[in-house]
Symmetry: D2
Subunit: 100 residues, 4 copies
């Protein structure tokens, strides 16, 4: 099952500078063979449900191993079975509509 | 890894009455040995990360099998390694503070 | 415009014990004339869009005034214009379906 | 109060093609003087709390006026008072960490 997801990970108990943890999670996602697209409030990722979800679990485990005591993550998960979909196709569709 | 999650599943392409799909997902979570706590905007669940996440995947698969072409889910995921945590403990802690 | 919302406020930079801040936000929502329903991963609230949103802003302001340097909030917002809706009606509808 | 937000609007009851509604919301945000940055699962926006929130309300109103009977939106809201912040600064900070 193909999954298009948006992941926002918030490490708690490590102060206000969260970028090193977000960067580590980007590496985890990339190492999983995914091509995460970072934005200002999370990261977009697409792939097989199991691959994406395994990488997300690894993110939590990796951050805890780095000393993060608590993590609050928000994830948006999109699946569809009526046709193929992709992040590029979603973006192209909106941009096409914005022209009119 | 213990997970406390909040799941909000939104079926798309099946009109405006979503309750039968939400009810089906509650059954899936319950059948997974979890004890979901439904609220007006999602459901709370706690358990082993893999068990909760497998059940969430089953929810998507079940709803697609029921004819839902597209699903948009929002999930909040909480993990912590500094101490044991539970949904009851979280609620009790806030309610204790509300007395003062 | 009637709004049914679910608010999850995460204070950053104040350690791991967040319950006093969540409790304060419950008070803010209650003082706004709303009847928030706390759950393990957020709080449900319903009312006029402007009233709910003004209270949410006050939550952020109040927590910052309490010394919270940074806040990350996740909110689910539901509006509909086809018919009246309520949190009780949403819950009742799902529970009715769970019987079958 | 400066707000950095991520908005994901899901129109319900209008079938599976949502891009025209997402495009309309981008226009609303742009007309509000904001510079929304569309991604595959939402849009990033930053500005004064009141300006962003007024635009978000207008998005709901506009979509309902277009015939959308029900809307489910997920919003991530970030505020901080310890220092100035921006979407560009957040992104730059993570990218700097990814080099190491």
């Amino acid at each position: 099952m193909k999954l298009i997801a948006d992941i926002s990970i918030i490490p708690l108990g490590v102060g206000l500078s969260l970028s090193s943890y977000v960067a580590e999670c980007e590496k985890v996602l990339t190492d999983a063979g995914l091509a995460p697209r970072l934005h200002a409030n999370g990261t977009n990722v697409e792939g097989d449900w199991d691959v994406v979800m395994a990488a997300l679990k690894t993110c939590h485990q990796r951050l805890h191993a780095m000393g993060v005591p608590r993590i609050a993550t928000n994830v948006r998960l999109g699946t569809r079975v009526d046709r193929e979909s992709s992040m590029d196709a979603k973006l192209a569709s909106v941009k096409e509509k914005m022209k009119t």
